[in-house]
């Protein structure tokens, strides 16, 4: 770990109770597209920017998204349309009542591919290839099978510190994605474990991850550094 990062972590540890969760701070209204906002908008700023802008017109949100492109936001046209629809509807001047929004958000079964495209793709990339030095690939990554629930531990708590994956070094911090539901995390883990030839890495006796298993992981919050330590103990 870089000395600067050590200091940062020490400073952070002094301020914040371990186990406290970042996602607790924000509570954007339920609605389709909400996960895309959580997945893409926190790369450069936290979601207070979104919360504090609640109530602006759809056209104004449209302009905000254009501006964010200039500041580095990279999303597909389809994702942009979904995000704009979410912001313009649920954070617009006349948002629907909360129950209606929750019903719209909960419509249909959870698809792992949707969670992946909404949340993971920004760093781990469309074909799960990752980015050299920064974001490890999913494709061919044996970490996915270190234990039945290890990917859920990482998704819920984040991971921080240098790691080697497939002979390549990565050193970065992944934030917790604990805003995802148990169902969503189970679905996306199972999806990632089945794509890009990963099924060949899967131990025969490892069952598919279910929401109940994710819920158990969620009951035991860890720091991102602890997840890094846990990984070491699981490595063969």
């Amino acid at each position: 770990m870089r000395p600067a990062l050590v200091l940062l972590v020490l400073a952070a540890a002094a301020f914040f109770a371990p186990g406290a969760r970042a996602a607790d701070r924000f509570n954007l209204p339920q609605g389709p597209g909400r996960d895309l906002v959580y997945g893409h908008c926190q790369t450069c700023h936290d979601l207070q920017s979104v919360e504090d802008s609640a109530g602006i017109r759809r056209g104004a949100w449209d302009a905000v998204l254009d501006n964010m492109k200039g500041f580095g936001l990279r999303i597909s046209e389809d994702q942009r349309a979904k995000i704009l629809n979410y912001l313009g509807t649920y954070l617009g001047p006349n948002p629907p009542p909360a129950e209606q929004a929750a019903a719209a958000a909960g419509a249909g079964p959870v698809e792992g591919v949707s969670v992946f495209e909404a949340t993971c793709i920004a760093c781990h990339q469309a074909e799960g290839e990752g980015k050299p030095g920064e974001f490890p690939p999913f494709a061919g990554n044996s970490d996915l099978f270190l234990s039945p629930d290890f990917p859920a531990v990482v998704a819920l708590n984040g991971i921080e510190g240098p790691i080697m994956v497939g002979g390549e070094a990565f050193d970065n911090a992944m934030p917790p994605f604990d805003f995802l539901s148990d169902e969503e995390i189970a679905a996306v883990v199972n999806y990632v474990r089945s794509q890009w030839g990963n099924d060949a890495l899967k131990p025969a006796d490892m069952p598919a991850l279910d929401a109940a298993a994710v819920a158990k992981v969620r009951e035991k919050p860890m720091s991102a550094a602890d997840v890094h330590d846990l990984r070491k103990t699981l490595l063969p």
């Binding site: 600067a4 301020f15 371990p18 790369t43 207070q48 504090d52 254009d66 500041f71 920064e134």
Partner: protein, 420 residues
Amino acid sequence: MRTQSSRFGLNRRQFGLMAGAAGFAAGFSPGFVRSAFAQAAPDSAEIIAGKAPGLIVHNAELGVMETPLTMLRKFDHTPKDILFNRLHFPHKGDASWYATTAAPDQPDWSIRIDGLVERPRTVTLADLQAMDQVQRVAVMQCAGNGRSFYAAKEKVAGGQWKNGGMGNVVWEGVPLRQFLEDQKVVPAGGAHWLTAEGWDQPATPEGSDFAKSYELGDPGLDNAILALKMNGEPIPAVHGGPVRLIIPGFYGNMNVKFLTTLLYAADQSPSAFQSVGYRMPLGPVEPGQFEANDYTIYNSLPTYGHKIKSVIFSPLPDDGAKAGEVEITGVALNDGQAAITMVEVSADGGKTWMNADLKPAESPWAWYHWSSKATLASGSNVLMCRATDALGRTQPIDGLTRWNPRGYEWNGVDRVEITV
């Protein structure tokens, strides 16, 4: 830490130079980081080490915080622990060195002068420290200060600043024009703009680097300094040390933090922070007719000098003012181009006005203190104040006439409702 961050600093500065020429950052990414330790609504003191608790946080990830007026009004020179702050990129990872009000530990810092010049130069921090220094007392104010007030017409996106995105600060440093002349860089004939860049870099490789450009002939630069000190000590890291370009009288974003590069160029920087962000439309615009993505360098201008403005510091609604005689106090400021000559105060919602007692300012760019006695009646009292300068410039009674989609440069007549 010193060796490590210096090494990164050098890389970034070399890189920043290339990015300035190209206009956009590419290649360096501090990554996708968010503190794994964050909890519900962190306090200002937890976000930036050395900041006082209780500042109004607009964005923790970017260290954006505003000073409550109850704190701001206690000091003539705003101390570093309560001064508002705005960063443009997350202060994490390699950038964590500036998440503090302590002095930066960057002894190897240097400034590169490059672009359309015959003799590019690098000047070290030690060189700068050895040069003659001048003082500039100046209001530092976020261009978005007062943005929340535009919501009375139509809310605009972004941090909902009230009046506390400003402070009165003592800067010391090397006069810019003399410095550039002494360096004998010999600008080429085609050089028209000076672009300033800082060490900070966007969170993603695709993001626009922060850069600001000024016309070389801009009279604002006549008073600019390469500041090394703030309030008598090395500039706190979070406020842009070790070197910050200070252009007295200009809105905050024009005063580039962590200065590494001064670039002579034929055109202004294509950075989105120059070409699209932090701009004001040339004329009045209406919600829905002109959006935040409609800005071009042809229909808008950067947020240059502070629009003349005055703010009521007391009484504030929570001060427990009683009916009867009360002293209304506050500050006034402008771009320093002309002295503020008058502050008028109303205690009855603008029906009647009286001239406040206006104290001389410490410098053309410092804030002016003013006060006026008034009588509060039982019930609601709407206090208002309006400043006017020697050029006849004054504040609009209705600040909403200057509504703009990014919510900059609010300078409407300030209103405080006191119920006694």
